[in-house]
Symmetry: C2
Subunit: 248 residues, 2 copies
DNA sequence: GAGTGGTCTAGACCACATC
DNA sequence: ATGTGGTCTAGACCACTCG
């Protein structure tokens, strides 16, 4: 017997090999053994390392590519995908900047405080009722015109020091902050769209009349392990809203 | 040399085999060689017939399963999927019938006529400007309550005899009619969602006040070959609207 | 040129559904 | 019991990217 170089696969050993390998790779990504942007070992290398056939390693990688975790580039390698969220919120709003460019709206933080989690929030974030959460209110503007109001909730115990940061330090994008300062990578999100009408406060905020239609977007952002990271509710002017779907 | 039983594959011969086989299978489905509900030959059989390795046939089938054209059932076979449109329009509206059951709303045809295609319609249906189209107005009701108004446009030359049918004969679902009477199978659809406010007519129709928010859903229904079959614009009460998305 | 993923072959055995 | 898809092996050669 020669010494074994193979590594044990995670998961129930009644599961198919390629699924167990996929699980193993996933937890390596969650645990940041491989970080977004990193190149994975080649498929052949993975196969050797985990003692499976190349085709099986390939199948495992394919699973994660489908899930959007990995990114294959022919001739170059397979990479851990950086969660870009190109596909996000602002996909819904066609801001004047017509030429299809992805513009990041200006961001103005209105309020930031630690409160006891409202029940809807603790449920969404899967934390104990009445735990402390950080609550942030932001106004989003395009070319100085207010287009959306956001309320954001975070588990205070994981994002404690966010309260100490300056508004300027935070900037217009929160997810990179979660990543760099709190080691929380948003991998996926679930959104729910509804229509509501503007109350006094949002009418004033978004330069509308009371009763004008608003698009309400609830979003739960989760990590690679599907654990909740952030919950937010955004309200935008419905007249700027457009959304496309393909049905199969 | 023995006689060849193999069948020629469609498509550019510089393309991968599995893609050409997928194309071949797709056109057989479009041409109704295999109809929705039919079982395809087994993967091994396909491989023999088209003279490719089993794995390659499998890859081709996988493509079409991903596209939603085929449906694999372990131990049973691979079937041509019936376009059910579970995933459709009424997914957006949560009708009272809370228990998640898929209810088909009642349907009342308000108007049916042949007109010259408005330019937006001829463009959507990819037909000549000013061609004749059938225009249908319908009201959709749940438990007697109006929830949505629909305007539907069809190429008159392909749906001519629809004008001779009785309202009752048409019933609440149009796509089965397109299938059975006109050999037009709706395979996919693209929808676009926007928010508008109710004009007098829709306020009356949907029991709203003028200016109340409406969800406007534009839908282009296409066949397996991606050619337009029907275009419709639906307007529904925004307060019944809810939509969920996963972002990766 | 070396290394990567992309395609393809030609089998094997297993799990499952149906008769 | 038979036939189906599901998994897996162990290769081959090609197309692409990069240094």
């Amino acid at each position: 017997m020669t010494a074994k170089k193979e590594i044990e696969l995670a998961g129930d050993n009644r599961l198919p090999l390629y699924q167990r390998l996929a699980e193993t790779l996933t937890s390596d990504i969650v645990d940041r053994v491989w970080r977004p942007g990193d190149r994975l070992p080649s498929e052949a290398e993975l196969a050797k390392r985990y003692n499976v056939a190349p085709g099986t390693a390939r199948q495992a990688v394919s699973l994660l590519v489908e899930d959007g975790l990995l990114d294959r580039r022919q001739g170059t390698g397979t990479f851990v995908r950086k969660p870009t969220f190109d596909t996000s919120l602002f996909r819904f709003f066609r801001f004047q900047s017509s030429d299809g460019e992805r513009l990041i709206p200006e961001s103005r933080i209105l309020r930031r405080e630690v409160i006891k989690a409202p029940s809807a929030v603790s449920r969404a974030l899967a934390i104990e009722p009445d735990s402390l959460v950080i609550s942030i209110s932001r106004l989003r503007l395009m070319d100085g015109v207010p287009v959306m109001g956001e309320e954001i909730w975070l588990d205070e115990s994981r994002f404690h020091s966010l309260m100490d940061m300056e508004d300027a330090e935070i900037g217009p994008l929160l997810y990179p902050i979660y990543d760099t300062h709190f080691d929380q990578v948003v991998a996926r999100a679930k959104e729910s769209l509804t229509v509501d009408t503007a109350d006094d406060m949002h009418a004033r905020l978004l330069d509308l009349n009371k009763g004008d239609p608003l698009i309400v977007i609830d979003r739960l952002a989760v990590g690679f392990d599907n654990k909740p990271i952030e919950w937010r509710r955004s309200r935008g002017r419905a007249d700027r809203f457009q959304y496309h779907i393909e049905i199969n």
